[in-house]
Amino acid sequence: MDFQPDLPIPISYVSGRYLLFSIDAVTYLRREHNICGVLIGTLPQIPQQNVFLGLPLELMPEEARLLVDKGVACIVDEAKAHDGMNTLLEEDRRRYLRDLESQGLHVSRIQLDRKERNREQTLKKLEEKKAKAKAKASAAAEAPTVPEEGTSTPSPKNAAIVDLFNAEERSSSPSASMSTPPQAATAITPATSYPPLSTPSPSSYLSAPAVPSSYPLFAHLHSKGYFLSPGLRFGCQYVAYPGDPLRFHSHFLVVSYDWDQQIDLMDLVVGGRLGTGVKKGFLIGGPQKGIDSVDSEADRVDTVRAFSLEWAGM
């Protein structure tokens, strides 16, 4: 269950977006590094369906930067990395296709096994039911104090029904297993292209993503164990959850300011009021140092100060 992917995890950079295509990487980052991202994959046939989205996972530049700074991930230019597809040898191509087919076979075998097991279980259950019904029927027959026809007739009838079904099942099950087609391989669509292509070399990694000025506050909250997600839905920059968003309600609506950036007090009222309205705090903050006065973003993260606001109710 606790799958550990090879580090650094390659983050695909596609036309300005940071994407993850490997489900193992996605679960690993969520579990170990409190990075959730946003699933953006939908069905090509029904693109309007946006309730249940799947891979790929889009990361905010802040998330990608944080992972790169931690050494957990690297940025790979997806278009360049796939140049190799053209020069793929015919032999490699065939081997890859064969590989996919064998994986497909494996999957269909597992599915078949599961089906078989289910069938056996239901059969067993039916058997038990039948035995019970028989016992009941015999008990009813042995009880001569109840001479009424009404009570004794249903039991044998039921038993007969069960028998009938059973017989059918029994006759069908061997034939079914015998008539199993010679295993059509399940078609597999891999989400990543790393088996045919080699994993990208460190020399091809792109530089760390450029981040907005709110990055220090983002990294500061992340280092305190908060899960952060984009805040557009709540009218702020980030929404901070005290744990996995599937388990917790969020605590804060987060907006970042520079140290000497003018804050309109009306914005504080708006944020504070909105936050209180949705049972959250309104958190503002920022690094004390400007980007010009330090060597790296990491130095600014340590100087972040934050303040949380709530309506006083008076």
């Binding site: 909250l221 000497d260 309109d264 504080l268 705090g281 006065s293």
Partner: protein
């Protein structure tokens, strides 16, 4: 004519304007402070209100940018007083009080600090940080002031309580002191009072609780 005479008569200034001119608060931050103090005293029935001012830092903005710990250029007024009821209780503290059957009325009143602000005034994170950095100092000052004014008021009727309750309260204050150090019941907090000055102002003052750092919201 009497009619025209009447028309040129100006209406009386509002109580708050009179109060401000009477006291001679000419600089805007003092006038602002006076308005909030007036509101706290008469609308929210606060008592023993004391005013302070964090002096502004003279100097050009270039030197300011170098040192993030320097206070801003503008002076910041600060008020403190005793609200009739507690304004803020941390959710975990509230839970503790519920579990131990401590009611808010049993507790000694707490001095609360208020920063009067108004729409359109310069306000930055630096202002906010400057206030919080000076808060412990002002707290100490206010405590001394309270002791000098009324040395007995800080011992809440310990004699009138039954021993069981007194013990629970003592435990609560122990826990409170510990929580203050670990910050599990929240860190320093104050009230941000915002005065509406637009269109002449309608006398509204909005109050928001501000905590230093990440303090979880009361209802979540």
């Amino acid at each position: 004519m009497a009619g025209t005479q009447k028309a040129t008569n100006r209406p009386h200034a509002s109580a708050i304007t009179e109060h401000i001119t009477e006291k001679g608060y000419e600089s805007p931050h003092l006038a602002r402070s006076a308005q909030v103090q007036h509101n706290l005293e008469h609308q929210h029935l606060w008592t023993s209100i004391v005013g302070e001012v964090i002096p502004g830092q003279a100097g050009d903005s270039n030197t300011l940018e170098k040192d993030p710990h320097q206070p801003p250029q503008e002076p910041i007024p600060l008020l403190s007083g005793y609200p009739p009821h507690r304004v803020y209780t941390h959710p975990d503290e509230q839970l503790y009080m519920l579990e131990n059957g401590i009611r808010e009325d049993d507790l000694e009143p707490q001095r609360m600090f208020v920063v009067p602000t108004t729409q359109g005034q310069p306000w930055t994170l630096r202002h906010m940080a400057a206030v919080f950095d000076r808060l412990p100092e002002f707290k100490r000052k206010a405590e001394e002031h309270d002791r000098s004014v009324n040395p007995t008021s800080m011992q809440p009727g310990a004699s009138g309580l039954d021993p069981q309750k007194a013990e629970k309260l003592a435990q609560y204050y122990d826990k409170k002191e510990k929580a203050r150090l670990t910050k599990e019941w929240g860190s320093q907090s104050l009230l941000l009072a915002m005065v509406d000055k637009g269109m002449g102002g309608d006398g509204t003052v909005a109050y928001y609780v501000v905590h230093e750092g990440e303090v979880k919201p009361r209802q979540n």
